[in-house]
Amino acid sequence: MYKYDPIDQQLINERVAQYRDQTRRFLAGELSDDEFRPLRLQNGLYIQRHAPMLRIAVPYGLLSSKQLRKLADIATRYDRGYGHFSTRQNMQLNWPKLEDTPEILAELATVEMHAIQTSGNCIRNITTDQFAGIAPDEIIDPRAIAEIMRQWSTFHPEFALLPRKFKIAVSGTEQDRAIVQAHDIGLEFYLDAHGQMAIKVWVGGGLGRTPILGTVIREHLEWQHVLSYCEAIIRVYNVHGRRDNIYKARIKILVKALGIDEFKRQVEAEWAHLKDGPLTITQAELDRVAHYFEPMPYQTLPAHDASFDAALASNPAFAAWVKRCVHAHRVPGYRAVTLSLKPHGKAPGDITSEQMHVVADLADAYSFGELRSSHEQNLILADVRLSDLFAVWEKARAAGLATPNIGLLTDIICCPGGDFCSLANAKSIPIAEAIQRQFDNLDYLYDIGELELNISGCMNACGHHHVGHIGILGVDKDGSEWYQVTIGGKQGKDASIGTVIGPSFSAEEMPGVVQRLIEVYVRERQDEERFIDTVRRIGIAPFKAHVYAEQEVVS
């Protein structure tokens, strides 16, 4: 992974000093609330229901064991002994004290970490595929460009105060796992007709109040121009994005208002001035950064391992875990492992300091000391030998990190919601927990098969509910908490936005509603059809009919 040189380190150290002074001035009354707000937000600090929340950047989801241990220690010392992985691959601490945040950032800086631009109206943490560099379906590893873009966007002087937040995702796979179409800018890497790395540029996607998938603004962009092209897009947005209405301030609204053709015309006119200028990435700079993402020193291994095969045959629990939590790897004899942060009945994405230490130890022992966070809020050991899988499973299971539910109904994506977030309309974590309890039968879960269930506590959609096969959104009705249900959303290359099935439900009804949706699926499915396939084939009407019909009988 990328390692800081003295330039990176100095910048982070200077940021800590700057923020320390800003916090001091705020506490001394020299900065007003309004003046301090963007400063603290751009350092990841929110003021939440109970306490501030600090969001720590995990650039494109890559962490070292050393960094995870530091996060564990910080969570113990400055928080309540746990952290939460967010849908943007970052870590959130729910209970730090404002006064302590400069010290926390200083601690983070010692392990090449920070909280820069994890919030606020600026370019946010760039996200990507959790299997970057190892996925068999990957065409291009986008991490070197992602790192170059991280540096470019860090304290970008022109884009420090945009109309609204700005999210970029990069992906270089057949099957897009980074939801590039749901981002302000999505960069899809591919090899062009000349065998060169090129980029398809999507713009104006986003979830939130007005969910919309992005539009292609450029089919073919040579990688050298990615900074200048993004700069052109964001410059047009900075000047013309709506600052008069927070709900209309995202770039997607501008793209819609102008139409993609006119927006593209403006971007290309701007780009004409920048193309081939100093922002053009040199081969030397790409090489310098790409060097940090070279393949791990893999052993030459056979494609099969006898001890692994034996364990698989004799131990059904292990076999179940392998089926759900172990993923293909491009190198023979290696696998990627997802450590589930979704045990049934616990807040999705939460991890205790003790568990962080366990994961760090596992990474050191079995996966070259690195790990990744995914936007599905799990952790990944990317490079485990087949022969080590059993040992990894035993240790992970002892630490509660081996729930074999990855990709299943209980692998719920869930935002912090009303328990923590001051913007929430409704709680989301208790809904996730109740659904997990309702479906706490692994055989049944396996029978239901692949299903993505996403929950957001308000229309800001941090839980990506629009792209869940089943999406749940907390809504406010006369001051009480209700839940609106969508089905048919999907991430990936064939992404879609879910459709609302009808009037919303109370919290108590929710597990039953999900149950009824599943009943329709089980009744209607053909062959190997997944839930989403059935919804796409038969439409929402049968689901709607069953969910609401039974409800009338019951009540």
Partner: protein, 207 residues
């Protein structure tokens, strides 16, 4: 105490006396509060008019000395102000919702102006940075570029990198204290008006 910080040619910044007098149109008669989605609108959209004709007609313009006038005031009064432009007494204020094109339409050669100021009504309006960028890199403006309005220490580093070389700090804050904000970072990553990207600036390969 002056509120004006100026970057000297050697890169040092100092608090200096302000030799320019700002011309400010009187407040509008019907200052109705605009709302959007239940919230007071804090920012004008790019391209919105800045002043009513009435405001412009009633604007008092000092007869002598260096004056800093809003673009709309210049447009309304240019017949009388033209000779003073030739004498180097006119600086123009562009608001963040106004466009560089509108400025260029008035002044074929922007370097006739010894001073252009960008007025930012709220510090969180990042359009000021793009305007600075355009004036320096696209329009070739070489003279003094000043940030005025809600100008605060914690944005100065960005202003500087966007091409500004003077900064009129908001009246209730100390300009002396704000000086340090110009040097928050020693080696920024990205290119900007003032420099190329770090990987063109320095040799990073030995790391």
């Amino acid at each position: 105490m002056s509120q004006l910080i100026q970057l000297q040619a050697n890169g040092q910044a100092r608090v200096v006396e302000d030799t320019w007098t700002r011309v400010i149109p009187p407040a509008a008669a019907d200052a109705a509060v605009r709302k959007q989605a239940g919230k007071v609108v804090l920012f004008k959209l790019t391209g919105e008019a800045s002043f009513t004709e009435e405001q412009l007609a009633q604007t008092h313009i000092p007869p002598t000395g260096n004056i800093l006038v809003p673009l709309a005031v210049w447009q309304a009064h240019k017949a009388t102000l033209q000779p003073r432009l030739a004498a180097g007494e006119i600086g123009i204020v562009l608001a963040t919702h106004e466009t560089v094109e509108a400025l260029q339409a008035e002044f074929a050669d922007l370097n006739q102006l010894p001073l252009i100021a960008i007025f930012v009504e709220r510090f969180s309006d990042g359009r000021i940075f793009t305007l600075g960028h355009w004036l320096r890199s696209r329009c070739g403006f070489k003279n003094e570029l000043r940030a005025i309005g809600d100008v605060l220490r914690d944005q100065l580093f960005f202003h500087k990198r966007a091409g500004f070389n003077s900064f009129l700090i908001r009246a209730d804050r100390s300009a002396e204290a704000a000086l340090s904000g110009l040097n928050d970072f020693s080696q920024p990553y990205q290119g900007a008006v003032d420099d190329v990207p770090v990987w063109r600036r320095l040799n990073r390969s030995q790391a």
